[in-house]
Structures are given as structure tokens and as C-alpha cells.
Amino acid sequence: MANGSLLDEQAPPLPREITTQPRFSDRVFRLVITAGGFTSLLVLGLIAAFLAYRGLEVFRTFGYHFITNYKWDGGNPDAGVKPSLGIGAMLIGTIVISLVALAIALPVSVGASLFLTYYVPNFLRKPLTILVDLMAAIPSVVYGLWGFFVLMPHAVYWAKLLHKYLGWIPVFDVPLPIFERSPFIAGLVLAVMIIPIITAISREVFTQVPLDRVQAAYALGATRWSMIRAVVLPFGSSGIAGGAMLGLGRAMGETVAVYLVLNLAYKANFHILFSSGGSIASMIVNKFGEASPFELKGLMAAGLVLFAITLLVNYLANLIVRRTARTGR
């Protein structure tokens, strides 16, 4: 360079601004998808704001007692009885039936997806996969009716068996021998409902297991089961966890089916075989028709709590998926 010595003393140039002129079609497309993205955010925000606005008075009246109090009493203005609203029992009930559902659905779903990926004969794979996916298409009220009329009589028998042989474990104990409409049965119905979701997600993950690792395991003399344990499950754990959390979220929000098969009671009950349970979503449906204006606000507040919990579960799902994705692969 001719005047290199001069250049050496100059400061480096400022970085250039790099731009591109998008085409018209590109700009339109960008507008459309941006609108789509923001719409979903907006809807989410508006729902939360609506629930918070309508429920604010209740939160202000009861404070944290709204969450911890088990009693839901609409009050009687004529008799001068003040309303006392609390969703503690329903909150506990929601968590109990969702965990029961998850405990039943998770092993079944993982087993089903392993079967569909590694064991099923080729000609059965497609039809069975479609069948499992179709389970998700059945309306929840149908699950509820089926649960009430078909499943419950059998489930009561299983519940009695569980109680007879495992009754010494506190959760399988019952204060009274009433086994109908218990959290166990509600959880069973919910399990059937969330199996397709968890199965579909696990299966999706299992099909992505790198073939070279599968082959490496087989080439070392692995049996199918030991290959699955060493390669498939570590690889798929994050996906399974994510699917389980999605299922949990769905189970927590499920309304009609639970309403039909669960005996709502405003008491905290951890005896899952006993006919007494709770579910925020079902309670809202239950109370909605006959609620006084103030009670209605309470129901909105309950909805907000449920909304917050499912959001939290989904967030946790994300966290788990990301953490296992980092270390597990």
C-alpha cells in the first residue's frame, strides 16, 4: 500500500450499517406473521388482565386466605351471613388428581411410544399410531361419561383391591369405605386423556435418536432393552419430561370429565381412593350457574390462580427440557 504509514496511524473505521431492502411480498408476509405472533400474546395478556380485574376485589377482601382457605361459602345477604371464599381444597385436589393422572399416564405413554418405535411389527405401526393420536380427538365430555358409566364400576373394584393390599400406605387408606367418584378415578380418566399427548411427544423424540448410537449399542452386544436404557431413554428424557409437563398442564385444566367423575368436597383429601376431591376447573363449572355477583368474582379469581399454575407448570416444563437438553445429550 502506497501510504501505509499514514493508514497505520488512523483509527479503524466505524462499522458500516448493514441493511437490505426487502421486497414488497416479504414485507407483507412479515406483517402478517408479526400480527399472528402478537395476537396470541395479546389474547393471553387480555385473558389474564380480565381475570385479574374481575377477581381483584376478591383478592383484596380475602388476601392469601383465598388460596389457603378450604371453605367456599357464598354467604347469605338476607340472613346477614358474609361470604367466605377459599380455593385451598380445590387447589390441593387439582394437584392430587393431576399427579395421579401423571403417575398412571407416564409409564403407559413411555411404554406405548417405545413399543410403537422399537417393538411393533411394521404393518401395525401406522394404524396403532393413528389410533393413539385419535384418542386425543375424543371430546372430554365423552371421556367423562365413559368414565362414569363404564370405567367407574371397574375402577371401584381396583380401588378396593389397592386399599386391601396397600392400605397401610397413607395415600391408599380411606376414612370411610366409599370408593366411588374418588380422585383415583378422576385421575384414571385424566390419565386416559393425557396419554395421547405424552405418547405423541415421546414417540417424536424416540424417532430422533441418532441411529449411530443405537447401532453402537447393538454392536456391543446390547439387548433391545439395554440399548433402550443406555441410549434411547437418556436421549429422550428431556422430551419425555416436556411431554409429561404438557400432560400435567392439560390434566390441571380439564373440566367436564372431572366434573362428571369426581365428588367435589371442600376438604383437603390426600386419600386418593376416598370419594372426596377437588378441582378448580370443575368447581368453577359447578358454581357458575348459581353464583352471586360477588361469588362470580371469586370464580374469576380462582380461574386466575389456575391459569397461573398451568403457566408455571409449562414454564417448569421448559426449564426441565432445556436443562436435560444441555447435559443429557
Binding site: 447401532q215 453402537a216 447393538y218 454392536a219 456391543l220 452386544g221 439387548t223 443406555a230 445429550r329
Partner: protein, 299 residues
């Protein structure tokens, strides 16, 4: 010694105009001649692998026809040939990895110590324990540590063994990796370089004490330095294990193998064209197609 051959390859790569075939033949032959030989009389492991009339199909496509080859103990056999000639498929019929492709079929016999590994009632997992495999792409288990990777075969095949530490050290030493990883056996397999990962895979394959080690282009994704280390490893292994190696790199075949089989397809299924001591394949091949291939006229 081996370094010398590697430089030899650089020389060849540096030639800008294609050398005439005579030069290449003589250079390959000299490589083969200068190699330290393990005499074939050394019957270290006593095992013996033989393929008889092996055919292979994918669906209706006949990809391999009538291969007869035997792999006596203490011998490294290289399988060479252009892409798609069926050499990898053949290798995978030797430990029954071939059948993982859903439409795959085979005919013929593969005898390990005189017993057909495809015989009815055979537990395939026991076959693969005796006939290990190293793949083209290094594939350590990423969820396991280096140490766990070495011992993974025991876990996978549900073999109980005491003094695992010793076994781990022994296998890593035999694979030429011990000194590089002995201080970080608890870090993940993915933290190693590609060449180290491949040697880890070799150590892993050795941990279940196979009689045969099949290697499917084990160096094709590695740099020259790692390739050298692995070739040294192969030479050492050949004293205790039957090694069969598929390679696209003819220099490598010349460097590591005692015998070489040349596969070729001419439209139809791949066939074994010629099988002879490596020296002969590269210096005076009997078949003109072999000569054309080893001199670089095609493939």
C-alpha cells in the same frame, strides 16, 4: 516407520499432475514391502472367521454376490473397492448388523470358529459380543463419561465383572488413549476430539473381549495424525484380535493390512474380485480391474 508412509502420502497429494500408474504401483508396493509384518504363523487368539457364499439384498436389490473369504487369527484384512461395491454391507453381514435395515436379506453362511452365526436359535447379542464393530463416525455415548463409555459394553450385555478399573485402563491403553484421558475419565465422551472419540470407541469395543473387530472406514472422518494413531492401534490389536477393516484409503490398506480383498460392482451386485496378500494386491494384482483400481484409474 509409519510416519514415513504418511509423508509418502503427502508427497503424492502434492503432485499436481496425475502420476503415471507405474509410479503409484511401485510406491504402494514399496509401502507394503517396508511394513513390519506379523507373521501369519502367530495364531494369537485362535479364533477364526469365515464367510461362505455370502449374498446380500436390500429389498429386491441384490447388492452382494457369492463372497467367500476367511479371516484367520492374527491377521488384518483390508476390504477395498469403490463406493457402492458392497464392502460395508459385507462387513455388516459378519456381525449381523446387516439385518437392522428393515428390508435387508442375506444368504450363505458366516462361520465363527466353525459355527454359523446365522444358525436358528442363535442369540444375536452373543454373536456381537464376540464380533465387535467400530463405525465410520465416532459414536461414543454422549450421556456417559469416558470411563463409563469404555465399560458400557459390559452394562449393555449385562456382563458382571470385578476389577473394572483395571479393565478400563487396559482397554484404553490398547486403544492408545490412556495417557490422554487418564486424568479426566469422569468428563463426558463428547469432550474429546474426533480422533480420541474414535479410539474411545475402539476401547469400548475391546472391553467386551471380542475375538473379531470389524472396522468400517474408521478413519474417514479423522485428521492424518489421528489416523496414524489408530493405524498403530490396529497393528497392535492384530496380535490378539482378528481385524477386518473397510477403507477407501489405499495407502491405509497398504499400511495396516496383511491381506486385502478387492470388491467391485459392474452394474449388478458387488463381488469379491481378488483376495491376496496386501503386497501382491498392490504390486502385482492378478486381475486387471484390481490393477486399474489400485493405480487410481477409476474409483
Amino acid at each position: 516407520m509409519i510416519r514415513l508412509f504418511n509423508e509418502n502420502r503427502y508427497e503424492r497429494d502434492a503432485v499436481s499432475t496425475p502420476p503415471n500408474e507405474g509410479e503409484i504401483v511401485s510406491s504402494l508396493a514399496s509401502v507394503a514391502n517396508r511394513l513390519p509384518r506379523i507373521s501369519n504363523e502367530v495364531q494369537a487368539s485362535g479364533a477364526d472367521l469365515e464367510a461362505r457364499g455370502v449374498h446380500a439384498w436390500f429389498g429386491s436389490r441384490h447388492v452382494l454376490a457369492d463372497v467367500n473369504l476367511s479371516f484367520p487369527a492374527g491377521r488384518v484384512t483390508a476390504l477395498i473397492g469403490p463406493s457402492g461395491c458392497g464392502k460395508s454391507t459385507f462387513l455388516r453381514t459378519l456381525n449381523r448388523m446387516h439385518e437392522f435395515v428393515p428390508s435387508a436379506a442375506m444368504a450363505g453362511e458366516v462361520l465363527l470358529d466353525g459355527v454359523d452365526i446365522y444358525k436358528q436359535g442363535t442369540d444375536v447379542t452373543k454373536i456381537r459380543l464376540k464380533i465387535g464393530m467400530v463405525f465410520q463416525k465416532p459414536n461414543p455415548f454422549p450421556s456417559m463419561t469416558i470411563g463409563e463409555n469404555v465399560l458400557s459394553g459390559l452394562k449393555l450385555a449385562q456382563i458382571k465383572r470385578s476389577n473394572k478399573e483395571d479393565l478400563m485402563e487396559e482397554c484404553l491403553t490398547r486403544a492408545g488413549l490412556w495417557n490422554e484421558v487418564k486424568d479426566r475419565l469422569n468428563s463426558h465422551g463428547g469432550s474429546l476430539s474426533g480422533g480420541q472419540q474414535q479410539r474411545l470407541c475402539i476401547a469400548r469395543a475391546l472391553a467386551v473381549a471380542p475375538e473379531v473387530l470389524l472396522m468400517d472406514e474408521p478413519c474417514s472422518s479423522l485428521d492424518p495424525g489421528s489416523t496414524l494413531r489408530i493405524e498403530e492401534t490396529i497393528r497392535q490389536l492384530s496380535q490378539s484380535v482378528i481385524v477386518v477393516i473397510v477403507t477407501h484409503n489405499m495407502q491405509q490398506a497398504a499400511r495396516v493390512s496383511d491381506y486385502t480383498g478387492f470388491f467391485l460392482t459392474e452394474g449388478g451386485p458387488g463381488r469379491l474380485i481378488e483376495y491376496a496378500p496386501t503386497r501382491e494386491i498392490f504390486s502385482r494384482p492378478k486381475d486387471e480391474r484390481t490393477e486399474a483400481y489400485v493405480t487410481g484409474r477409476f474409483g
